[in-house]
Amino acid sequence: MTEIPLTHVLILSSLLFIIGFVGVVARKNTLFMLMSLEVMLNAVGVAFIGAGSVWQEADGQIMFILILTLAAAEVAVGLALLIRMQRRYRTLDIDVLNQMKG
C-alpha cells in the first residue's frame, strides 16, 4: 500500500474548499449555495482525516464525525429555511433577500 503524502491530501482539501467557496459566492440559487457549503465542510473533513492518518491519531476521525453531525444539523435548518423562502417569495434566488440594506 503506497503512502499518500500529506501535501496531496492538503492540496485536494484546499481545492475542494475553494470550489465550495466560489460556489457559495457565485451561485444565486440558495439550494446550490447550501450544497457548496457542504462541499466546504467536507474539504475541511478531508484535511482532518489526512492529518489524523499521518500522525496515527484518532482525533482527526473524531473531528470528522463532529463535522458530519454539524453538517446534518445545518442542512436540516437550511432546508427548512429554504422551504419557507420558497413559500414566501416563490423563488430560491438569494438576491431577493436583500432588505437588510445599510
Binding site: A26, D95, L97, M100, K101, G102
Partner: protein
C-alpha cells in the same frame, strides 16, 4: 407693595395662567381671566390717577428691588407715575380693556384663542413696564417686550407665509431703531452717568459737557443722544425711514391692529420723546428734525392712504400720518398737544379698527374696499360708529380729534423749531386726511353693494351686545374725549424764550385750520362721485402707474429691497463659502465619504457578505503569517 407696583401684575398673571393651561381652559374661562385682568388693571389705573391728582408731589413711585448697579448708578425695578405716564396708563389699560373685550368675541372661533389672549395680555404688560419705568434700562425692557409681542401677534396665523414674513419684517425693521436707541442709552450713560429718567432730564440741562460742543466734534453729545433716541422712536412709531413695517403688520388679526395702532406699540416712540424732553430741549436742531420727519411722514402716508384698496391698510396709513402729527407737535415743542393727540387718537383709531373688524367679520373676512359698498343700510350701527370715528380722524369741530389736532396746528406757526412751512404741511395733511377718509367711507358704506355673499349677522344676541358695548364706549370716548383736557405744561420745561426766529401768527390761521377738513369733504363729495352714488357703472380700482406706486407705499419697499436687502443677501451668499466654513466643512465631507462607503457595503446581499467575509479572513491570515 403698593397699588402702582401691582398694575402690570394683573395682565401678567393672566398671561401666565393662559399660557400654562393652554387649550385646557374653556372659552368662557379664558376670556373671563384675560378680560377680567384688563378690567382690574383699568380700574386700578383710574384709581391711581385719582390718587395722583390729590397727592402733593404730583408723583407716585414704587420701588421694588435693585436690578443691578453700574459704578455709582443703580438700575432699579421701580415705577414712576407722573402726569405724562398717567395719561399713558389710562390709554393703555382703558383702550386695552375694550380691545380685549372685543377680541374675546372676535376671536371666539379661533382654535388658538387662549394663546392669542395670552399674547395680548403680555403686550399690555410690556407696554405698562415701558410707560411706568423710572429708568431707561427698564424702559428698554418694556420696549423690547412690545417688539416681541408685536412679532408674536402679527404672525399669529403662522400657517400662512405672508403673515410670517410680515411679522419678521416688523421685528427686523423695529430692531434697527432699537439698536440706535440702545446706543443712545449708552451715550447718555457715558456723558451723564445716570440712567434714571428724571435725573437725566435734569442733568441734561445742568451738565455743561453734555450740551457744549467739544473741540474736535461738530456736534455736542446731546445732539447725538437725542438723534439716536429719535432713531428708536422712529422705528417703533413707524415714521419716515423705518415706516415700512406698519402696513404689512395688517396681516395680524384685527384686534391686534387696533392694539398696535391705538393703545400700545406705535405710541411708544412718541412717549419716549415726550419722556426725554429734557434731552431734546437742549438740541433745537434735533427738535427741528423731529418736526420735519413728522411733517414729511404725515404727507407721504396721507398720499399712500389715498390709493389703498384694503380697508385695514387705509387705516394703517392714517395711523402713520396721525403719528406724524404727534411727532410734529413734539418737534415744535408742543408737548402737551402731542400727548393729547396721542390719547384722542388712541380712542378713535381703536374705534375705527374695531368697527372695521366688525364689518370684515360680517363680510366673511372680505377686506377689499372695492368689494364692499352700500353697507350703510345693511349695517347701520357699524356705519354710524365708523362715521363717528372718521369725524374724529378728520377733526370735525366738536370731536376729540378736533381739539387735539387744532392744538397741534395752532402751535406750529410760532414755534421756533417748526415754523410756517411745517404749518402748511400740517394743513395739507389735514386736507389729505379728510379726502382719504371720505373715499374710505364712500367706498365701504355708500354706493352699490359689490359683494356677492350674504352678510353674516351675528345671531347670538349676548355676544353681539358685548361687541357693540365695547364699540359704543369707544365712540363716546372719541366724541367727548376732547373735553378731558390734558394739561401737562407744568411737567415739561419750556424753551428759554429766545424769540428771535419765532413768527408772529397771522389772524387767519385758525380759520384756515378749521375750514380745511370741510374743503376736503366737499372736494371728495364731487371727486369721488361715482363711489358715492348708486349706479350701474362698475367701480374698480385705478391701475395707473402712479396709483399703484402710491398703493405700494411710495416705493419704499422696492428701494430698501434694492439698496439693502439685495446687497446683504449677496454678501451673505458670498460669505457662505469663506475659508473657515470650508475648513469646517472638511470634517463633514470626511464623515460623509465614509458614510457613503459603509452604506454601499451594506447592500443586503448575502453573497457579497460571504465573499467579503471569506476574502478578509484570507487577508487576515496572510497578514498574520507573513
Amino acid at each position: 407693595m403698593n397699588l402702582l407696583a401691582s398694575l402690570p401684575l394683573y395682565p401678567l398673571l393672566s398671561f401666565l395662567i393662559l399660557i400654562s393651561y393652554g387649550k385646557r381652559l374653556s372659552w368662557v374661562m379664558a376670556s373671563w381671566i384675560s378680560v377680567g385682568s384688563m378690567a382690574a388693571a383699568a380700574l386700578c389705573s383710574v384709581f391711581l390717577v385719582n390718587q395722583l391728582s390729590t397727592s402733593d408731589t404730583n408723583v407716585i413711585t414704587a420701588y421694588m428691588w435693585q436690578w443691578f448697579s453700574v459704578g455709582s448708578a443703580k438700575v432699579n425695578i421701580s415705577f414712576y407715575l407722573d402726569a405724562l405716564s398717567s395719561v399713558m396708563i389710562l390709554v393703555v389699560t382703558g383702550v386695552g380693556f375694550l380691545i380685549h373685550l372685543f377680541a374675546a368675541i372676535y376671536m371666539k372661533s379661533d382654535e388658538n384663542f387662549n394663546r392669542f389672549m395670552a399674547y395680548m395680555n403680555l403686550f399690555i404688560v410690556a407696554m405698562l413696564v415701558l410707560v411706568l419705568a423710572d429708568n431707561l434700562v427698564l424702559l428698554y425692557l418694556g420696549w423690547e417686550g412690545v417688539g416681541l409681542c408685536s412679532f408674536l401677534l402679527i404672525g399669529f396665523w403662522y400657517q400662512e407665509k405672508s403673515n410670517v414674513l410680515a411679522a419678521r419684517k416688523a421685528f427686523i425693521v423695529t430692531r434697527i431703531g432699537d439698536t440706535s436707541m440702545a446706543i443712545g442709552l449708552f451715550l447718555l450713560f457715558k456723558s451723564l452717568a445716570s440712567l434714571n429718567i428724571a435725573d437725566i432730564n435734569q442733568l441734561a440741562q445742568s451738565t455743561e459737557s453734555f450740551t457744549s460742543i467739544s473741540m474736535h466734534a461738530t456736534h455736542s453729545n446731546a445732539y447725538w443722544a437725542a438723534l439716536l433716541l429719535l432713531g428708536g422712536a422712529v422705528g417703533k412709531s413707524a415714521q419716515l425711514p423705518l415706516q415700512t413695517w406698519l402696513p404689512d403688520a395688517m396681516a395680524g388679526p384685527t384686534p391686534v391692529s387696533a392694539l398696535i395702532h391705538a393703545a400700545t406699540m406705535v405710541t411708544a416712540g412718541v412717549y419716549l420723546i415726550a419722556r426725554m424732553n429734557g434731552v431734546f430741549l437742549m438740541t433745537p436742531q434735533v427738535m427741528t428734525y423731529v418736526a420735519w420727519l413728522g411733517g414729511i411722514t404725515l404727507l407721504l402716508a396721507g398720499v399712500a392712504a389715498l390709493a389703498q384698496n384694503d380697508i385695514k391698510r387705509v387705516l394703517a396709513y392714517s395711523t402713520m400720518s396721525q403719528i406724524g402729527y404727534m411727532m410734529l407737535a413734539l418737534g415744535a415743542g408742543a408737548w402737551s398737544a402731542g400727548v393729547f393727540h396721542l390719547m384722542t387718537h388712541a380712542f378713535f383709531k381703536a374705534l375705527l379698527f374695531l368697527t372695521a373688524g366688525a364689518v370684515i367679520l360680517a363680510l366673511h373676512h372680505q377686506q377689499d374696499l372695492f368689494k364692499m359698498g352700500g353697507l350703510l343700510k345693511k349695517l347701520p350701527v357699524e356705519a354710524t360708529l365708523f362715521i363717528i370715528g372718521l369725524a374724529c380722524l378728520i377733526a370735525l369741530p366738536g370731536t376729540s380729534g378736533f381739539f387735539s389736532k387744532e392744538a397741534i396746528i395752532a402751535s406750529l406757526w410760532s414755534s421756533p423749531t417748526a415754523g410756517p412751512s411745517l404749518w402748511w404741511c400740517a394743513i395739507l395733511g389735514a386736507l389729505l386726511t379728510s379726502i382719504y377718509s371720505c373715499r374710505l367711507f364712500f367706498l365701504a358704506f355708500l354706493g352699490k353693494s359689490r359683494f356677492s355673499d350674504s352678510l353674516v349677522i351675528s345671531d347670538h344676541v349676548e355676544t353681539n351686545k358685548l361687541l357693540r358695548g365695547a364699540l359704543f364706549i369707544l365712540a363716546l370716548l372719541s366724541l367727548f374725549g376732547g373735553l378731558m383736557t390734558v394739561d401737562l405744561s407744568s411737567l415739561f420745561s419750556s424753551y428759554k424764550q429766545t424769540a428771535v426766529n419765532s413768527y408772529e401768527s397771522p389772524s387767519w390761521l385758525h380759520v384756515v385750520a378749521i375750514a380745511t377738513p370741510f374743503v376736503g369733504i366737499i372736494f371728495s363729495w364731487f371727486y369721488y362721485r361715482n363711489y358715492r352714488v348708486v349706479s350701474d357703472k362698475s367701480v374698480t380700482a385705478s391701475q395707473s402707474t402712479f396709483v399703484v406706486f402710491c398703493r405700494n407705499g411710495l416705493g419704499f419697499d422696492t428701494l430698501y429691497t434694492v439698496l439693502l436687502i439685495k446687497p446683504y443677501c449677496f454678501i451673505a451668499k458670498l460669505n457662505r463659502k469663506d475659508l473657515f466654513d470650508q475648513t469646517l466643512m472638511l470634517t463633514a465631507w470626511y464623515v460623509r465619504i465614509w458614510r457613503d462607503v459603509l452604506s454601499v457595503s451594506q447592500n443586503g446581499s448575502l453573497r457579497w457578505f460571504a465573499a467579503a467575509f471569506g476574502l478578509s479572513l484570507v487577508g487576515l491570515i496572510c497578514v498574520v503569517i507573513l
